[in-house]
Symmetry: C2
């Protein structure tokens, strides 16, 4: 190869790959390097779709997106009740369980979610033990439904049975109501893929002890503006996904008189112990609130904004506003992981849970920059956390008017993942999440960062173009 | 005066006053301006004292300071009980009230503190109404004592009577125990200089309802590591002085089972309402914890570190470790103030309260940089809050090993105000504080920043040199 020779006084502006710029600089030329990559990595079909969706189609699309963003940002979800799931969750019949992520047949369900389902079957009283529960499930005698298709969201490997207590969160402006189970707390629990006697007992405790008491509390105190608490939580270092300490505590203090009024019986004290030991208590409440907004937003036709992003441990599904269609890929492994001693990636189950609904409305990753706890997890400095927020800024279409980050001059968190921007940049949402054991039922074995697979977003964009 | 002429190629390094540099620059010379001021503003006596205290004397002084700093930074204050003040506070006899700041005669007490004292006298049952209370006080029939001289600290215009419940905080390493009253909460309350029926009733409520319940809670749950909670609070945006929201909530959630176990009687529910409505609840607990450390630190002889900084609304007192001597100046006005509608500086009482004990151990102003709430108060941006912390860094001798500020790369908050640095720089500690009405008993009328008067620190330094 002949060496490239430059005139001595060359001034070079180099766009894209830096190799040429380096060669020029090595020969003493003055070089300005422009960091540029072709959109969608230069994929011809994607570029045609983007040209179309950013071009003539964009006027209608931008109008639809503006309405979607208004709904995601400005709806006011109110906690109005805690009820038994069967009484309120639409379409949740007897002998039926709701699971996270896209619809799935039992044969395809991952190990931790199977265990959680078996624990739920036993807690519901449909089987006497987990072996009998397995027979029912494998024999198709328990129906499965995607929580997301029943106006509900469930975290990690939760299986939601009809007797379980759920948060009822209304978005009155939108006329939508969403549901999520009361959090199971830490430790030996079914939502981490455990099916021990203790895990079953915890589900019974939620039904018999925690649910009725939360119902009385909310009846006495509610309605409660969920995101008013979350917005304060963000000011206090919550991302309101992996960290909900401040929001949980604000919730508890705001209902404290109703907790005191429960009485000093053993069950009420046990309920207080459950609250005291569960700093993620606010998580599922925030998820239900977020879902009440995505339910409203998804009624808008012809938008490029993502309104569902959910994983069942086998597949990862994405939906856009205005479309019933799931765009499904394999559930990814959870990367950048920290494992408990003795565990590693070879025994890690893939990404699972519906909690990424939070990332769609400005919480979780979008709110990372303000969270010392998330920073500690992502590398130790606040700059690590800020990077997570900045990445979401690149693929989101708006900024929250309620969730403000002190460390970014009180700028709003990014809201509204735009599938065009995802495909254009190749960046997909990242979710900080727990990691479950893939096979042996030992529950949570670590935590890490799950990067959504690009393919689902790409398929969603191409489908939008087809419409 | 002849105009100074410079050669055309002059290069100037100018130290101190910038006038000459400006003149040189105006004539086209290249100028480097060094921002320098003479120490202690060039005061000859101060400079001699500083030369002495930084010079030959500094070896012994630095050793003493190191021990003082170790005690302020590393003592572990534990909440061990809530008790009736008369039973535990040393030297608090019958018909006696403890007040903030240096010792003072009733004739010299400011209006809001007088009102608070009258409310306390009525709550103690020594007088039937505030007029009768005034007679007792004016007639010298109620003894007054400086809380700081009784191992106690009290916030704002608190008058602490013997029947009131106090936090008992032990610093076991140091063998010191300190006390502070249970917080009165917001609104129509005596510590804001109110003497209404409601203010008296609140004191009775603290004695009859809140105190006994907190005593049961601490008995059941304690000992509680106060600064472990405060350290988490700092990570969550508390400065743990003007803002204690996160620390208060952490405290409440950690004792929640004991709150539930109190029972559902009307008083227990009223107690829960008092907790739910009092986001500054943690303030006096943190103050007692801080005092348990300054009590330990002040046993070290010959140190230039401040161990008392307290105001009674008339005078402002400073003490150094190893000395019983108060260095007293007039209590300053509270500057940079925000007033409630209809009020202004002309009706503002001077700075009052013992809460500045927090600024001596790394909380309050030293922790401002991490607090969005403090930032909002100081001007709106996190940079405003960071400035407060940086100013304290200039006059403090160490950094906290437990209170870490996320926004400053988890650097420790400044600890240990060194009177040498105060005099050298002319910077004194600033305290964010409430402002009370000076004359009419309407209570809190705003909030602002109280800058400690330099004179007390200067007197302390000169006295240290004399020793």
């Amino acid at each position: 190869m002949t060496r490239t020779e430059l005139p001595t006084d060359a001034r070079v502006v180099n766009i894209g790959l830096s190799l040429f710029a380096q060669a020029a600089a090595a020969q003493g030329a003055s070089v300005v390097q422009v960091d540029w990559r072709p959109p969608a990595d230069g994929d011809a079909e994607d570029v045609r779709a983007l040209t179309d969706l950013y071009g003539l189609r964009s006027v209608a699309l931008d109008a639809a997106n503006a309405e979607v963003l208004r709904r995601l940002d400005q709806g006011v979800p109110q906690l109005v009740a805690v009820r038994t799931a069967a009484d309120v969750v639409p379409g949740l019949g007897d002998r039926m369980l709701l699971h996270p992520g896209p619809p799935i047949a039992y044969a395809d369900v991952c190990d931790p979610l199977r265990r959680s389902m078996r624990a739920a079957v036993v807690a519901e009283g449909w089987a006497g033990d987990v072996a009998a529960a397995e027979e029912l499930l494998a024999g198709g005698e328990v129906r499965l439904g995607s929580a997301n298709e029943h106006a509900a969201v469930v975290p990690m490997a939760t299986a939601l049975g009809p007797s379980m207590p759920v948060w009822v969160v209304e978005n009155r402006d939108g006329g939508t109501t969403a549901y999520a189970p009361i959090g199971q707390g830490p430790g030996d629990v079914a939502w981490f893929g455990r099916e021990s006697a203790a895990a079953v007992e915890r589900l019974v405790f939620l039904r018999e002890v925690a649910g009725p008491r939360l119902a009385r509390i909310v009846e006495q105190v509610g309605p409660i503006d969920v995101f008013a608490l979350a917005a304060q939580g963000v000011q206090m270092g919550d991302d309101v996904h992996m960290r909900t300490q401040a929001s949980t505590n604000l919730f508890i203090r705001s209902v404290l008189p109703a907790i005191a009024a429960l009485g000093d019986d053993a069950d009420s004290v046990a309920f207080a112990e459950y609250l005291a030991g569960n700093h993620l208590f606010f998580l599922t409440l925030a998820m239900a609130a977020a879902k009440s907004l995505t339910l409203w937003a998804e009624r808008v036709e012809g938008s490029s904004i993502v309104t569902t992003m959910a994983r069942n441990g086998t597949t990862y599904g994405v939906k856009l506003a205005g479309s019933d269609r799931w765009h499904v890929t394999d559930s990814p492994p959870v990367g950048d992981a920290l494992y408990y001693s003795g565990y590693g990636p070879e025994v890690a189950a893939p990404d699972i849970g519906d909690s990424a609904v939070l990332e769609l409305i400005g919480l979780g990753g979008p709110a990372a920059a303000g969270s010392a706890a998330v920073a500690a997890f992502l590398g130790g400095s606040m700059a690590d956390a800020a990077r997570a927020t900045r990445e979401m800024q690149q693929i989101c279409a708006a900024e929250s008017t309620r969730f403000k980050i002190p460390t970014m001059d009180f700028r709003g968190t990014p809201v509204g993942v735009d599938v065009r921007k995802v495909v254009e940049t190749g960046l997909t949402p990242k979710v900080n999440t727990g990691i479950l054991h893939a096979t042996d039922g030992s529950g949570q074995i670590g935590a890490g960062v799950a990067t959504a697979p690009l393919e689902g977003f790409r398929a969603a964009m191409l489908a939008l173009r087809e419409e």
